[in-house]
């Protein structure tokens, strides 16, 4: 998985490419942990994301919980397969998806 980060003050954009699964979720978790301090607007771009597993969902949930405390988190460009996962798991209700 490739993560492209773009930080602008308290604004953090992250574009994910590839598969977010058990093998790559720790990578995203580490990246987020490293850059989330002081961020009030977190945007995750899922345009290049092909697959999302429960390990990936866990990282998203953690990030959402942190952002609930310090600002807002938006996920954009979610494809149909992943949207289905969000719907089935109920994540669609707790995430802000554009």
């Amino acid at each position: 998985m490739t993560i492209t980060k773009n930080q602008n003050g308290s604004q953090l954009d992250m574009a994910l490419e590839g598969r977010l699964d058990t093998a790559t979720a720790p990578q995203l978790e580490a990246e987020l942990k490293q850059s989330m301090d002081g961020v009030t607007e977190l945007t995750l771009d899922f345009a290049g994301l092909e697959y999302l597993s429960s390990a990936g969902l866990r990282v998203l949930l953690s990030a959402q919980k942190v952002m609930n405390q310090q600002g807002s988190m938006v996920i954009k460009n979610v494809n149909e397969t992943i949207m289905e996962i969000f719907d089935v798991t109920g994540f669609a209700d707790i995430l802000t998806i554009e």
Partner: protein, 536 residues
């Protein structure tokens, strides 16, 4: 290794011998040349002194007169007698005075010629003319006659009669004109003997030096190089072979040269290697212990899932079968089924996010909580809300569980269910499996405030429910394709009439065929409940 050390010594000794021999030869040759040069010079100087002395005896003004008249006088005889005395007393070979023809410097007319009787030669009488002057003397004669000085070069010759040197001086009359040359030839007989003595001495000293130097050098080499290196290589070989008991001291560490450093390094290295091996052994043992405990954990986990089939042999109303294939040693998936009371059968299918031991521990808590809270007559939405709250407490790892629970009333066929973010089940009605689109709540342990609502559907005898985890639909082949809902639905319907255990075996075989050799990262868990008849 010992053999190589010896070779090293041979090379070192040979190079030293060669060096000393070359040095000796250079010293000897230089000394020989210097010795010869000094001695020749000495002899030549003596010859010149004799020539100077002889010159004072002469009366140069008369010489040309003698030659012109062809007559000598009494003074001539007296001078010749004195020269004869001089040639003997000065131990010279010849003293001669001669007129040189200045046209070609090759014709010599002798005026005086004194010969040392010891040489065995006869003198050239007055007026004797020689025309065979050695060409190599011509330049010197010319120099003497035109400048009135000494010969520029030393005149030496080495003939069979022995080595000799010649002094040549101009004879000038009272007006300063050069009228003749005087030559003195002195034998250098002592030179040979002295020189060979010198060479013998140099050779003797050189050989003695070589032998003494070699002895001292070999002793030193043996003590300071060969023996320490042999000790170090011996120890290194021993340690390399058994890797045990590193030594704590080597004599070679006292060596003042690099060998001492080498020895110290070997000691240090052995100790380090030993420590490393011990450490590695301990770590490996620890790893084996953890591995064994993980085996036990896997065993405990799998034994926590109901695995005795048929599960309810005295219940003709239902047939149930379930299986879990963990991807890692301990998985995060679990299933469960149990009788809530005499007429209600509960099934649970769940997937903990993440893998390994943390997921397995969380799974145990989740499974226990769900079973504990599923009490007769209780609303399933309430059950999940309660379980969710309990799971949210102290969930530092931020794991969560997707879970599906259903309770079948065996008397009525009513199937109540609750879904916390889990996959939708397949229901077989009239011999055909279709995915049942049911509302999903949020995952368990995600948000403390999540509300869950119970759903309900009616099952008729002959219907069945198939529930699974995402390990099934997200099994991946080598081309990164997912197994997917369509393939699952297809294989279910190909085996629509099969009993639960046969169905699960068929699905698993289909997944295996699809995946091939591609590695799997998720547990594959499935459950099938067939409602055969109403309870009477």
């Amino acid at each position: 290794m010992k053999k190589k050390n010896r070779r090293l010594a041979v090379v070192m000794v040979a190079s030293i011998v060669a060096l000393i021999v070359i040095l000796s030869v250079i010293v000897a040759v230089t000394g020989y040349q210097q010795f010869t040069h000094v001695l020749e010079r000495q002899y030549n100087d003596t010859a010149y002194e004799v020539a100077e002395t002889a010159l004072t005896y002469l009366n140069p003004d008369k010489l040309e007169g003698y030659l012109q008249s062809g007559q000598t006088d009494e003074e001539y005889d007296a001078i010749l007698a004195r020269l004869d005395e001089l040639v003997v007393s000065s131990n010279c070979n010849f003293i001669y005075v001669a007129k040189i023809d200045e046209t070609d410097y090759m014709t010599t007319t002798y005026i005086y010629d004194s010969v040392n009787p010891a040489t065995g030669f006869d003198r050239y009488e007055f007026g004797y003319v020689s025309r065979d002057t050695d060409p190599k003397y011509v330049d010197d004669l010319k120099h003497i006659l035109t400048t009135g000085g000494r010969a520029e070069k030393y005149l030496y010759s080495y003939t069979e009669s022995g080595a000799h040197t010649t002094a040549g001086l101009a004879v000038q009359d009272s007006s300063g004109r050069v009228v003749a040359v005087i030559g003195v030839e002195k034998s250098m007989t002592v030179l040979y003997g002295a020189r060979s003595t010198y060479v013998r001495w140099v050779a003797t000293i050189a050989v003695t030096m070589v032998v003494l130097t070699l002895l001292v050098y070999l002793l030193w080499l043996n003590r300071k190089v060969i023996r320490p290196i042999a000790e170090i290589t011996g120890e290194a070989r021993r340690f390399a072979n058994d890797g045990e008991n590193p030594v704590t001291s080597l004599k070679a560490t006292q060596n003042r040269y690099e060998i001492g450093v080498l020895a110290s390094s070997i000691l240090k290295m052995e100790a380090e290697i030993k420590r490393y091996i011990d450490n590695l052994t301990a770590v490996t043992a620890e790893k084996e212990r953890i591995g064994a405990e993980l085996d036990i954990a896997t065993h405990i986990q799998s034994s926590m899932l109901p695995c005795i089939f048929p599960a309810f042999p005295d219940r003709p109303e239902v047939d149930i079968y379930a299986s879990m294939t963990p991807a890692k040693e301990v998985g995060g998936d679990f299933y469960d089924f149990f009788m809530v009371d005499d007429t209600h059968l509960a099934i649970v299918m769940a997937d903990v996010s993440g893998k390994g031991v943390p997921a397995a521990l969380f799974m145990v808590i989740g499974k226990t909580l769900i079973k504990d809270h599923t009490t007769p007559g209780r609303d399933l939405g309430e059950v999940f809300m309660e379980v969710n709250k309990l799971l949210c407490e102290g969930n530092g790892e931020e794991l969560f569980i997707t879970a599906f629970e259903g309770v079948l009333d065996l008397k009525t066929g009513q199937f109540n269910f609750v879904n916390a973010g889990h996959e939708m089940p397949f229901i077989r009605r009239k011999g055909k499996y279709t995915p049942e689109k049911i509302r999903a709540g949020f995952v368990l342990a995600g948000m403390e405030t999540t509300r869950y609502r119970m759903g309900s559907l009616q099952m008729e005898p002959g219907d069945a429910i198939f529930q699974y985890t995402d390990g099934v639909t997200e099994a991946t082949n080598a081309d990164n394709e997912l197994y997917g809902m369509e393939r699952l639905e297809a294989v279910l319907n190909q085996n629509a009439d099969a009993a639960p255990d046969a169905l699960l075996t068929a699905v698993k075989a289909d997944i295996d065929a699809f995946v091939g050799d591609a590695p799997q990262f998720d547990d594959i868990t499935m459950l099938c409940l067939e409602f055969k008849e109403m309870m009477r």
